[in-house]
Point group: C2
């Protein structure tokens, strides 16, 4: 078996596991969102703010992928939502079987949710190819990372249904051309949604919360039996 054969086999096994997850999430009516970004773009901080805003009216939960430390899941549990850390054993992305195993080991504590957030390992490349049974991927890009990133990492910006620019409160302190980023994302992903946010000041967060609620409502509606 060559390196390419092995990779194809791994991706095929992942696709099968992801399909089983997707069916289970559909049956449960759970919206699943796979968050991907560089290390330190603000995935956990976005989810902390989301938990505070929505936990009283939606059942939220999270799976947090990392190479090491339980820190991210702990941060989310402190915001009152169930969260489980998945340590990948050095791998630069989560895969569908890890999600399956983590959910099984939670014995129902991450079942029956309205929204399950999957916070992937901090990496703009590896997580792109691994379907986790999610409804859609979200890519985060902080304004401190530079405005050249969509074209440098085109696969994830093309595949993520939603791009969230984070740390907008720092815009005045850095060279970051927001319009240039918007144009790159539009070229890679014409049908994608583009949001600009600051978890710190709250700017733009209403748009993110509305997107989640609308996506959940859309999924539930599509699942409802047709009625005359």
């Amino acid at each position: 078996m060559t390196e390419i054969d092995v990779r194809q086999k791994v991706l095929a096994a992942n696709a099968a596991a992801a399909e089983a997850l997707r069916n289970a999430f559909r049956e449960a009516g759970t919206l699943v969102v796979n968050l991907i970004s560089s290390p330190g773009s603000g995935k956990t901080t976005l989810l902390e703010a989301t938990a505070r805003a929505l936990r009283d009216r939606l059942r939220l939960g999270a799976l947090d992928g990392d190479i090491a430390t339980e820190r991210d899941a702990e941060r989310l549990r402190r915001q009152g939502i169930p969260a489980r850390q998945i340590l990948t054993g050095g791998a630069c992305h989560l895969d569908a079987r890890q999600i399956e195993k983590a959910l099984a080991e939670e014995n129902g504590r991450l079942s029956g949710l309205d929204v399950l957030f999957i916070e992937n390992v901090g990496n703009l490349i590896c997580p792109t190819s691994y379907d986790l049974g999610e409804d859609f991927k979200v890519v985060l890009l902080s304004v401190t990372e530079g405005d050249d990133k969509p074209f440098k990492y085109p696969a994830i910006f093309a595949r993520a249904a939603v791009t969230v620019v984070t740390k907008a409160d720092l815009l005045e302190h850095v060279d970051f051309d927001l319009d240039a980023v918007r144009e790159q994302v539009a070229a890679l992903n014409p049908s994608g949604t583009f949001l600009t946010t600051s978890s710190r000041t709250g700017a733009g967060m209403a748009g993110w919360f509305a997107l989640l609620e609308k996506s959940l409502a859309g999924k539930r509606e599509s699942l409802a039996p047709a009625v005359r």
Copy 2:
């Protein structure tokens, strides 16, 4: 062949190519520095400032790894140093054979240098395991990425001889405990060097330039034939 067998075979082939590179760099008396960080931590910006400061007294050159775009090599060429972009074809790190091939294709334009910088693909995980024949690895961490990163990505902070904290000019605008980062790095890598810099204001940059010059002098000295 299992997935693990394939990975071991790939790493063994890389190690052999890296050893050949290391011998060639020793013969040429070239110091080789492998820079690794998340996307957007400021590798290219650090190298731009380094080129401006040192190009008049040292022969500098660079290889720039990316998934897509020639942008980083172009930025460095604008600072008057030879630079070649290596596009990895989707891979999340450079490998020794890509370095070998790029140097050969440059037909001597990247030979006979005092210092060759290898700017790896923006990624804190994948580049860690791939020896490129370098004298040492440098890991960059920008203050906007958060002070939890060394323990979340321990392998690279343990293996890099030098940690460079970047964008220190933004410290007053973010929550970043520099002492906490210093302690994590010291725990992972007790003999490592820890620098705090701002390419924008120039703060701390003299320490970085001095480290390069001292490393180059040390390498040249170790290569000189013993004289009574």
